[in-house]
C-alpha cells in the first residue's frame, strides 16, 4: 500500500509501544501495518507471532500477560469479526488487551466485500466490552496509542485503536 501521508506514523507508534514496555506482538499480515510489523519483527527484544487467524492473537495476548509480558495485536477491521467469541477471554479474566486495527471499507474503498465488516467493526468490539479509540489524523496517533496502552496495561481494560482508512491512504493497484 502506498500512503498519501508523508509523516512516518508507524515509527512513532513503534517508539510508543516500546515506551509502554511491549514485549510481544501478534499480527495478521496487513498492508496498513506493514511498516510497524517490520519494525517489531526486527526488534530482538520483541517476540512476534504471525497468526493464521486474528482470534489467535487474543489468546496469545492473555498468555503473555499471565507470564508477565505485554502484547500488542495488529489486525485489519475485517479480522475483528473473527475475534468475537475469543474476546470473552479478556472480558471475563480482565486481561489487558491492546489491538491496533487498520480500517478498510470506509473511505475510498474499491472492494465492496470490505464494507459490511467495516460497518460492524466498532459495534462488534463495543458489544464485547472493548473501548474503541479512533484515529483519523497521523498527528493524533502517538497520543491515542499512549492513552490506549495506559488504559489497557495499567487499568486492565480491553482497548482497540481504530486507524481510519483516510489516514492510511487509498490503496493503489
Amino acid at each position: 500500500m502506498q500512503t498519501t501521508q508523508t509523516e512516518d506514523w508507524p515509527s512513532a507508534v513503534y517508539r510508543t509501544l516500546k515506551a509502554a514496555k511491549v514485549q510481544q506482538m501478534a499480527y495478521v499480515p496487513d498492508a496498513g501495518h506493514s511498516t510497524l510489523i517490520n519494525l517489531l519483527n526486527e526488534d530482538p527484544q520483541v517476540a512476534t507471532n504471525v497468526l493464521t487467524t486474528e482470534e489467535e492473537g487474543i489468546a496469545i495476548s492473555a498468555g503473555a500477560w499471565l507470564g508477565g509480558q505485554r502484547n500488542v495485536l495488529l489486525m485489519q477491521s475485517s479480522g475483528v469479526g473473527n475475534c468475537t467469541n475469543m474476546l470473552s477471554l479478556p472480558a471475563m479474566a480482565r486481561f489487558p488487551l491492546l489491538m491496533l486495527v487498520t480500517m478498510r471499507g470506509e473511505w475510498a474503498e474499491f472492494n465492496p466485500w470490505q464494507v459490511p465488516m467495516s460497518r460492524a467493526t466498532q459495534p462488534t468490539l463495543e458489544a464485547m466490552g472493548l473501548r474503541t479509540l479512533r484515529v483519523d489524523k497521523a498527528e493524533d496517533m502517538v497520543e491515542t496509542v499512549e492513552a490506549a496502552a495506559a488504559l489497557a496495561y495499567e487499568a486492565d481494560q480491553q482497548v482497540a485503536v481504530l486507524i481510519g482508512q483516510r489516514l492510511l491512504g487509498k490503496k493503489k493497484w
Binding site: N49, A59, S61, W65, G67, Q69, S88, A93
Partner: protein, 201 residues
C-alpha cells in the same frame, strides 16, 4: 458418503492418563482447555500454577504459547481436548512457526465432543493430530496408547526441546464426575500471576 479413515484405538482412562502425564510435572505451568480437561486437571489437585479456561474455545494452546514466550525459563504444558484442538487447527501452524522450546500440548483425544452429546469428532473420523503437528514442524509429535508411554512423555517435559511438542493421548469416550475449578477468571488469573511473583496491582 466419503470413506471413513481408519482411526487408532482409544483405550486409556482419561484421568489416569492425565495423572501419569502430570506425575513428573514439578514446576511446570499448566493451562487447561474448557470442559473435561479443566475438570480432569482440577480433580488431580488444584494448584496456583494451573490456569483453567471455562470458555473461549480454541484458546488453550495459544494462551500456552504467549505464556511460554513470556516465561522462557519455565516449562508450559497445555492440556486440551480433541474438539478444541481441531477448532484451533491453525494454531498448530502458528505455534510451529513460533518454535517455543518450552511448550508442550497434550490433546486428550476421545474421538468425541463429550460436552455436547458425544458427537464424533474429526479425530474419530481418522484425522491424526500428531501427524498434522509433525507436518507443521513440531519438534516432537506422538500418539500415546499406554500409561507407560504417557509417563515417558511426562518425563520429557523436564528437558527443553528443539521446538514445541504435541502428544495425543487416546482415551475412552466417557465423562468422569465433574471436578469444578473456580469460574472466577480474575481470581484464577491473579492467583497464577502471584505464583510467578507478580503482584495484583
Amino acid at each position: 458418503m466419503t470413506e471413513t479413515l481408519s482411526s487408532t484405538p482409544a483405550t486409556l482412562d482419561r484421568r489416569e492418563a492425565i495423572g501419569a502425564l502430570l506425575r513428573a510435572r514439578e514446576n511446570t505451568l499448566v493451562v487447561t482447555g474448557l470442559g473435561s480437561p479443566s475438570y480432569d486437571v482440577h480433580a488431580l489437585g488444584d494448584r496456583d500454577d494451573n490456569y483453567y479456561l471455562w470458555g473461549a474455545m480454541g484458546s488453550a494452546a495459544l494462551v500456552g504459547l504467549g505464556l511460554a514466550q513470556a516465561q522462557p525459563e519455565k516449562r508450559v504444558l497445555v492440556v486440551t481436548g480433541d474438539g478444541e484442538q481441531l477448532m484451533a487447527f491453525g494454531s498448530l501452524a502458528t505455534i510451529a512457526v513460533a518454535r517455543p522450546r518450552n511448550l508442550a500440548i497434550a490433546v486428550i483425544d476421545n474421538h468425541h465432543y463429550g460436552e455436547t452429546g458425544m458427537q464424533m469428532s474429526h479425530t474419530g473420523h481418522g484425522i491424526d493430530l500428531a501427524k498434522v503437528a509433525a507436518a507443521s514442524g513440531f519438534a516432537e509429535a506422538r500418539t500415546l496408547h499406554s500409561l507407560e508411554e504417557v509417563e515417558q512423555a511426562g518425563e520429557t517435559l523436564k528437558t527443553p526441546a528443539e521446538g514445541p511438542r504435541l502428544y495425543v493421548l487416546k482415551v475412552t469416550a466417557e465423562n468422569h464426575p465433574r471436578s469444578l475449578p473456580s469460574r472466577d477468571a480474575v481470581f484464577i488469573k491473579n492467583r497464577f500471576r502471584a505464583h510467578l511473583g507478580f503482584a495484583a496491582e
